[in-house]
Amino acid sequence: MTFTSLNFLIFFPLLALCYFITPVKYRLYTLLAGNYFFYINVKPVYALLLAGITLCTYYFTRQIQKNDKESIKKIYLIINIILILLPLFFFKYFSKVNDFFFSALNSIHIRWPLPDIKLLLPIGISFYTFMSIGYIIDVYNEEIEAEENIGVVAAFTSFFPLLLSGPIERAKNMLPQFKQLKQPDYNSIFQAMKLILWGYFMKLVIADRIGIYVDIVFANSGHHTGRTLLLASILYPFQVYADLGGYSLIAIGTAGLLGFKVMLNFNRPFFATSIAELWRRWHISLITWLTDYVYTPLTFTFRKYKMRGIILALMITFIISGIWHGAALTFLVWGFIQGIYLSIEALTSKRRMQFEKKYNLRKKGWYIFLEIVVVFILFAASQVIGRAENMATAFNIYHRIFSVSGPLFIGDAPSILIYSIIGLLMLLIKDFTDEFAPSQMQFFNNKRKSVRIMAYATIAILILLIGVFDGGQFIYFKF
């Protein structure tokens, strides 16, 4: 069940009720049962996989903790990571690798009857795999102690708000919270509700609405004008932000209602003034994970090569991030481009800083605005590759943006674009005030209760009015 299904709106209040009427001593187990019920609801077999990964993680972290010899610890660490990564690789990349070998053999006229396996990726697998790996490495690095209570570990790896699409939390933050369950206080309950409501708004009103337009345009990119493709390319990053960002807010909010503090996943990414800053604001939980467990060890290993070592580490990290998003050349190139962007920034950062200081640019509004726009354009351009089916399509989109004139495609439903823009404007205004004038225009935290109540109700009504509930909304694309 996803957060946007009605099943979830029934499941969650029931679970919360059960959770809070259970005596504190046994609450962890109510939660654990709820977690597994949630995941079994997706597909029962997947729950076994999750349980397997949990057992494995529990066993090996205990072994790492118990042993004193560094070499044995390392062996346990490696075995554990490999065991946990196996299912992810198998499900995510097996069919691709299979296809690759099949066509490779075929091209040299060998028809090897490889089994044609099309596996459905167990939803959420990369998230709990990453959470488990982070935990194991933290134990190995003596950042935290291996947990003795298997229930705590199981609750962590299967925690339902985070299970399907993150944030990818850390054991260091979560395990103590599972060991010492907290009652949410009045304030945190309303903060959580605000996040959930805003999350639904981002997901249903903005992301899914923009998605209708972006999907239809990119699905027929060869038939659309430059203007249309440009608009879709501009909208797409906002769709992703509203989609994953909205979903993350719902996750953080539901966890908050149960008394848990979960890390922020997006921090107004499009107000970043450099690509590096964007990546500190965009999918934060994934990027900090990669920073801690891939990038830092790599730069540390390469440190004697100084800048060159850092650039190499950057490239490897983002290529891994690209492949994580999907087993395709487009994602690889996407990761490569991020690496290039960041490397160029790293190489020029000193000179840029001196330049900015000389003319006092950091304090100038127009300069910051310019940076924000440039960063967005660079990012949106890279996202086109991530979104396209293959490299040829991506290049064709770039080509058409600059060469094919003609009217903007609106379809027979201008309302889809208009609703998108209404939602997007609200999001941008909210993010803008949060970024530059956090004490202005407070609706949810207004001093007056009536304004607060109206803020909640208005967002709910807007979701009802212009949210996308099912596939009944679409643009009829007649060429």
Binding site: A276, F300, R303, K304, K306, G309, M353
Partner: protein
């Protein structure tokens, strides 16, 4: 090593890595209060410190250094 001596040795490294000629090295100084202290400059800093004091950090040590005070203690333990 005395604290004063260490601060003296660290100051030019910090100023050079973070491009700030007025930076004062204190115990509480950390990535939180230096704008240009990111994961990138952090590793450059580590390398410079290693060279200056001819010591070698371990990866594990990195996570334990939350501010300059921690770092100085770590350096001392390696000398």
């Amino acid at each position: 090593m005395e604290k004063e001596e260490m601060v003296k040795k660290l100051t030019p490294i910090f100023r050079n890595v973070f491009g700030d000629e007025t930076l004062e090295v204190t115990d509480e100084l950390s990535a939180l209060n230096v704008a240009s202290w990111d994961s990138l400059s952090h590793m450059l800093l580590i390398t410079e410190v290693e060279n200056q004091f001819t010591i070698k950090f371990k990866l594990k040590d990195l996570n334990k250094m939350k501010n300059v005070g921690d770092m100085m203690a770590m350096i001392n333990s390696k000398l």
